[in-house]
């Protein structure tokens, strides 16, 4: 059922949310399917009486792999000088890779992404273990090495 009149405040609210939704989609923080579903919910909110304002998800991938997410410093609403509880965007942000970068400008989260590399961390841990062992048994290893060299010298 479609309303004859549209509430101005509802339109302003939906327009603001839609702007954020479009930006999340353009930055690939949400999938096309989720973008469309949430856009449909926003349209229903305006068209269908008594419809609740939808809880929007603007960082879809935050639920999937907790370890590779970092929290946003400020919510999207606060960024624009708004503060309300109808659009909760304080969930974590997916770290974007360089491959998924859009446009000609750096995404804020890229700098965070550049600092985190699980493989690098694993390698670092591995290297750290080897070095610790060498450090602890330095004299023993050196003694064995010198012993082998001396034996070879005597044989020759």
């Amino acid at each position: 059922m479609t309303r004859v009149q549209v509430d101005d405040m509802q339109i302003i609210k939906v327009d603001f949310a839609l702007t954020r939704l479009c930006r999340a989609y353009a930055n690939e923080r949400i999938s096309k399917a989720l973008y469309r579903r949430q856009r449909a919910e926003l349209i229903s909110y305006v068209q269908i009486p008594q419809s609740p304002f939808p809880d929007l998800v603007l960082n879809e991938y935050s639920q999937a792999i907790d370890d590779v997410f970092v929290p946003e410093e400020t919510s999207a609403i606060d960024d624009l000088g708004f503060s309300d509880d109808w659009l909760n965007e304080s969930s974590p942000t997916r770290i974007q890779t360089y491959d998924s970068r859009q446009g000609q400008f750096f995404n804020d989260s890229d700098s965070l992404g550049a600092e985190f590399d699980p493989e690098l961390r694993e390698n670092s841990i591995y290297n750290f273990s080897i070095l610790s062992l060498l450090d602890r048994y330095y004299w023993a290893v050196l003694a064995v090495f010198l012993g082998i060299m001396t034996t070879l010298f005597l044989i020759v």
């Binding site: 939906v14 327009d15 469309r36 856009r39 859009q102 000609q104």
Partner: protein, 271 residues
């Protein structure tokens, strides 16, 4: 425009169509510098749908891109909701996007060929706009011109990221560098705008050739002035050409039938 040019313009570059709810008047011109007109437009009055596209890519390529976009929405199924319509439009534009990229690869060695796009959708009392790039939708309500879309441009990106203020952006050059266009990059994301539609609203879809040549104040005064929708469109095009119009100029006026015949009569304010 001299008399011959005006006659040609009225014959081939100005078109009017009516539905019960709206009158559409589209006008296009190559401008005073360009040899080709790479802009495109299309309206479907009974479906409450219209678009303007501004092709880019040089000799004939831009024209191909904008034409592909215009044709992409020709055959529509029936819809039960505005959401379905928007999804369908996005899907069709994505198909055109892939065709444009294929065309670029086949004929122009992957050189950038593309088109900006703005689509107007009537689902009264709601309306919607879908766009990519710097083609715009304006609305005149209560004699006031409002820009309903926001250009995908470098300057707006810089404003969004807090690198410059809106005031600084106005002083900078390079505002015409766009960051999105159909066919230009591998992935396409269009933005969506939702707004209320009233019977007295006047909508203007246009390419950047119009607003770069004619100020907002003049657009508002001419479009919301007296005279038929055709007369006002001719006046607006003449204003653009008199101002130099270095780019192709394309626009479309959409308004209720009650205003399309005689335009708008403004009462003088009483002192």
């Amino acid at each position: 425009m001299d008399d011959d040019e005006l006659e040609q313009f009225l014959e081939s570059d100005l078109a009017v169509s009516r539905s019960n709810a709206w009158v559409f008047c589209a006008a296009t011109h190559k401008g005073t510098v360009r040899q080709l007109n790479e802009d495109g437009w299309r309206y479907w009055p009974k479906r409450g749908l219209a678009l303007v596209a501004d092709g880019m890519g040089g000799h004939e390529s831009g024209d191909v891109a904008s034409t592909m976009l215009c044709e992409s929405l020709d055959h529509a199924p029936s819809f039960t909701s505005l959401s379905e319509r928007l999804n369908w439009i996005e899907d069709q534009v994505t198909v055109a996007h892939k065709r444009i990229r294929h065309y670029s690869k086949e004929h122009h060695d992957n050189k950038t060929v593309g088109s900006t796009l703005v689509v107007w959708v009537d689902a009264s009392p709601l309306g919607s706009a879908l766009w990519a790039g710097d083609s715009r939708l304006y609305r005149i309500r209560n004699r006031k011109l409002e820009m309903m879309t926001r250009d995908h441009s470098q300057l707006n990106e810089m404003i969004d990221r807090g690198l410059i203020s809106a005031e600084e952006a106005q002083e900078r050059k390079g505002g015409n560098v766009i960051t999105r266009a159909v066919g230009a990059r591998e992935l396409l994301h269009m933005d969506t705008k939702l707004f209320e539609i009233r019977a007295d609203d006047l909508f203007i879809l246009c390419s950047d050739g119009l607003y770069n040549a004619v100020s907002d104040a003049h657009i508002e005064a001419i479009c919301h002035g007296q005279g038929s929708i055709e007369q006002r469109s001719v006046t607006l095009m003449q204003q653009a050409l008199n101002s130099g119009a270095r780019d192709n100029v394309t626009f479309m006026l959409i308004e209720s039938p009650s205003h399309a015949v005689n335009g708008y009569h403004h009462e003088e304010p009483q002192l």
